[in-house]
Subunit: 364 residues, 2 copies
């Protein structure tokens, strides 16, 4: 039996194309005996809906929960704009996050030096940028109940969403952020809207409490609206930023976009270590989406997807060396001047998905 | 009796300093018989708390509701970090918004040509930028109930905030956005998280319904996280963006920051026209905050505050010509090379609050 199991969910759009490059990578690391992965694959999002009329089947959900790590592509596309709400492609993602209980979403925003000019920000503001957004992923307004639309007597409707946080949910995500800050620059910004939201008040109270256990880490409070502004004004002031599910959704996208490297950024979503085995459920996916506009053309950038595998090696399997090797291979290929269409530059060679995947593999 | 009444609420920090320049302006327009304003002033935020132990008194709230327009400075500062939650400075703003029922918050994000280099974005991406964010201001998670922190039996706490929207609230803000788009470039982006939030689903449904009454206006749906990204990537793709209270808070701050002109941007918050008189309650304030770090030094930029008065002339009193004159005076002073500290540039003259206010007045 293989030592580690990976469950691959390519999803929709470019998800399926970039996952092929992951499969090639794993085949190679296995054949070199650098890893001993068993892989299985399932359907998620629109592709699952087309076959099973649900965004993800119970069976695939169970497989995801049983795997040592899930490698996820991306879901969604205009084709499924009119499917019933509970079966929309995103529902696969939300179900997996919740059932796998992967509450800690790590979204690094790194500016690859070779790509600093691709940022819409001035080069000096983003060159060398390295922020880690730690987003709470299984609570807040994404999952709180009631979450309803009701018909009113006057013929109108009322929609309700509920943001709920309990102490333990904030405590555990704060600890993840502080622990990670210790491996970086010892600085955490905690973002909320405590001036308006009670969940923000509790968020701030709990984070400050946890902060007492990390006297060596600088803790700053920042309002979420100001955080968005400051990310645009001067992103390098940040090291780790911890925030709730909804603010994390927006702030991590802003941070990712700043880098000019959106097609390059991976993410990890981690659960709590199992008390018996010490293993934590884990889910890896690129920050970018399914890009229906370029799907099927063989031009998607596979780097974020490949970097997600590197993150898996690092966080789930402790294979730091191999992870670093893959990350270095990505940098080397960029330095060689290879670019996919999304990061195309004058005087650089534009290649397709396969060619980029092969070039990275060749560096290894 | 004067024709129009203004109620001035300078607030805290630089609010009081920049309001002095407003008073000088009004004194001048009155003396030139360009306007016939009566003015009264009150306390809001920390300054009200220091005197009355509330963020705003009932009496001042009533005055605000009775006035033809409220001109508001800014509230808050570290001095009041520990006042009881219900009396924190921001509570003044929230109470006024709710009781005046000023549901339509217009936040223009304009890049003054003279300041394009002050943006953190590359010049070509922001030069000529002119976006109008239309933010719903009296609903959503800011005011929905329950909004509580409760003690749980296990010694932990649970915090709840509630996002609520009814059809009529979305309908009326959508109409404001479409009407304004008609005076601009006939394009509306409506931002929500309908892939996760039921309020987003209703939001989108109602906005699309209203859109049918505005066949001449292009309507685009955009997810709020993508909207934040696209604002950073290519802000000039937007004309009018309509969104809810919380997303509007964040997206309007991002848009404002892009321009490099944060200290220059005014905002208007408008109610529904009174069926009898046609008058709508109105509240004008700069987009920037109370800037406690520079308060009391006489160096704050009064332009956003003065531009807020111009907005009042335009939206509350139909004095388009005078409004334009003031806006032109601001541009002229910038072209002359005058700058306050926040927008200081090499080879430009840095002046204080009073000097900037006087220079604008001199141009009139
Ligand atoms: C697809 C969507 C449900 C998801 C989210 O809102 O969390 C996405 O935007 C993300 O950030 O992973
Ligand atoms: C001060 C605060 C309550 C307010 C808000 O969140 O609305 C501010 O950020 C704003 O945008 O006017």
């Amino acid at each position: 039996m293989a030592t580690h199991s990976l469950f691959l969910l390519p999803g929709d759009g470019i998800g399926t194309e970039i996952m092929l490059e992951v499969e090639k990578l794993i085949k190679w690391t296995n054949s070199e005996q650098l890893t001993d992965f068993s892989t299985d694959a399932g359907l998620a999002g629109g592709s699952a809906y087309d076959k099973y009329q649900v965004a993800i089947t119970d069976e695939d959900t169970e497989k995801a929960k049983a795997a040592d790590a899930v490698i996820f592509g991306a879901v969604g596309g205009p084709k499924w704009d009119d499917v019933p709400y509970e079966h929309r492609p995103e529902a696969a993602l939300l179900r997996l996050r919740k059932e796998m209980a992967v509450f800690a979403n790590l979204r690094p925003a790194i500016c690859y030096p070779a790509l600093a000019d691709a940022s819409s920000l001035k080069r000096e503001l983003v060159e060398g940028l390295d922020i880690l957004i730690v987003r709470e992923l299984t609570g807040g307004v994404y999952f709180g109940e009631p979450k309803t639309i009701t018909d009113l007597e006057n013929g109108q409707k009322r929609a309700v969403d509920t943001q709920v946080y309990e102490t333990y949910e904030i405590d555990r995500i704060a600890r993840v952020a502080f622990d990670l800050a210790r491996t970086r620059n010892n600085k955490v910004h905690s973002a909320d809207k405590k001036n308006v939201m009670k969940s923000g008040v509790l968020w701030d109270e709990v984070v400050k409490g946890v902060g007492k256990d990390y006297a060596d880490v600088e803790l700053h409070h920042i309002l979420a609206d100001n955080a968005a502004m400051q990310l645009v004004r001067n992103p390098k002031q940040f090291d780790v930023m911890v925030t709730d599910n909804l603010f994390g959704d927006i702030l991590s996208d802003v941070a990712a976009m700043l880098t000019g490297s959106l097609g390059m950024l991976p993410s990890a979503s981690l659960g709590s270590p199992d008390p018996a085995t010490g293993k934590r459920k884990a889910f890896y996916e690129p920050v970018h989406g399914s890009a229906p506009d370029i799907a099927g053309k063989g031009i998607a950038n596979p780097i974020a997807m490949i970097a997600s595998v590197a993150m898996a090696l690092r966080y789930s399997f402790g294979m730091i060396e191999l992870a670093t090797k893959i990350e270095n291979a990505i940098s080397a290929v960029l330095s060689d001047g290879l670019r996919t269409g999304d990061i195309a530059q004058d005087n650089r060679k534009t290649v397709g998905t396969e060619e980029m995947g092969a070039a990275i593999l060749a560096k290894l």
